[in-house]
């Protein structure tokens, strides 16, 4: 009987150790993912601050004066920015302000996979930024 109890206790302890080990491994993987997520968020934030993504259906209002479209692949009509019909997919539009020489980078997005994650609120904030 004593040997039977010893076997049960040994079984319980080994199972417990196995689960603790697995949990620690999972926790380590979780920490790694969190680290990657944090650095990715930081990287995305940088790009979002520097490149203004415009969905093909969105109209971006920009001031009529003081801006020069350097790339020649867009034009301003009635205060709104439009890409030229020849503009290639995802082509970058660069606009420079003649007032402070600051450069604004815009990008028209056509890809469907981006549409799923696209947030129209971003465009609104860009419009506010320019106005």
């Amino acid at each position: 009987m004593e040997s039977f109890i010893a076997v049960i206790v040994f079984f319980i302890i080994s199972s417990f150790s196995f689960f603790i080990g697995t949990l620690m491994w999972k926790n380590r993987y979780n920490e790694k993912l969190k680290k990657i997520l944090k650095s990715s968020q930081k990287e995305l934030e940088f790009y979002e601050n520097n490149i203004k993504i415009i969905h093909k259906q969105e109209k971006l209002k920009i001031p009529l004066e003081g801006l020069t479209i350097l790339t020649g692949n867009a034009f301003v009509e009635d205060g709104y920015l439009y890409p030229t019909p020849e503009v290639a997919k995802n082509q970058v539009i660069v606009i420079q302000s003649s007032l402070n020489d600051e450069v604004y980078i815009y990008k028209y997005v056509y890809l469907k996979r981006y549409e799923q994650t696209f947030k129209p609120a971003r465009v609104e904030s860009q419009v506010k930024l320019l106005n």
């Binding site: 009987m1 039977f4 109890i5 049960i8 206790v9 079984f11 319980i12 199972s15 417990f16 689960f19 603790i20 697995t22 949990l23 999972k26 926790n27 993987y29 979780n30 790694k32 993912l33 969190k34 680290k35 990657i36 997520l37 650095s39 990715s40 968020q41 990287e43 995305l44 940088f46 790009y47 979002e48 520097n50 490149i51 993504i53 350097l70 790339t71 020649g72 692949n73 995802n90 970058v92 660069v94 420079q96 020489d101 450069v103 980078i105 990008k107 997005v109 890809l111 996979r113 981006y114 994650t117």
Partner: protein, 127 residues
């Protein structure tokens, strides 16, 4: 028949079941967290790829192919003997824009202190 030995066996069995449920619950929680984290990383990386495809990241200098018609728009870099160098005052993660005067084509460069910043994504995220 209730004996001391039977009580010990019962306690052991209950303890084992308790540990099993506890570990299972925690494993489920970790799995759920990891899945949410992996999904968020995938979404963010897709967005980053969308942005970064236009940029050429460099640390010290870039050898340019054609420099005759190129001009630096952003004034934070200079071209010397067909090589693009950042200004000494250029900071980490600063965008340098070059333009071909004839074709008006734009080249975007991103100056970074080190190229090791891209995180290593676990293989499981690719599938």
């Amino acid at each position: 028949m209730v004996t001391d030995e039977n009580i010990v066996i019962l306690i052991c069995i209950f303890f084992f079941i308790f540990i099993l449920f506890l570990a299972g619950g925690l494993m489920f929680q970790y799995k759920k967290n990891n899945e949410a984290c992996e999904e968020a990383i995938c979404t963010i990386r897709t967005q980053i790829n969308e942005y970064s495809r236009d940029f050429i990241k460099f640390t010290d200098f870039v050898n340019l192919e054609k420099t005759n018609n190129l001009r630096v728009i952003t004034n934070n870099a200079f071209i010397e003997n067909g090589v693009l160098y950042p200004n000494p005052s250029t900071e980490n993660h600063e965008i340098i824009i070059l333009q071909d005067i004839e074709t008006l084509k734009i080249q975007l460069y991103l100056y970074v202190d080190s190229l090791e910043e891209t995180p290593v994504i676990p293989y499981s995220l690719y599938y």
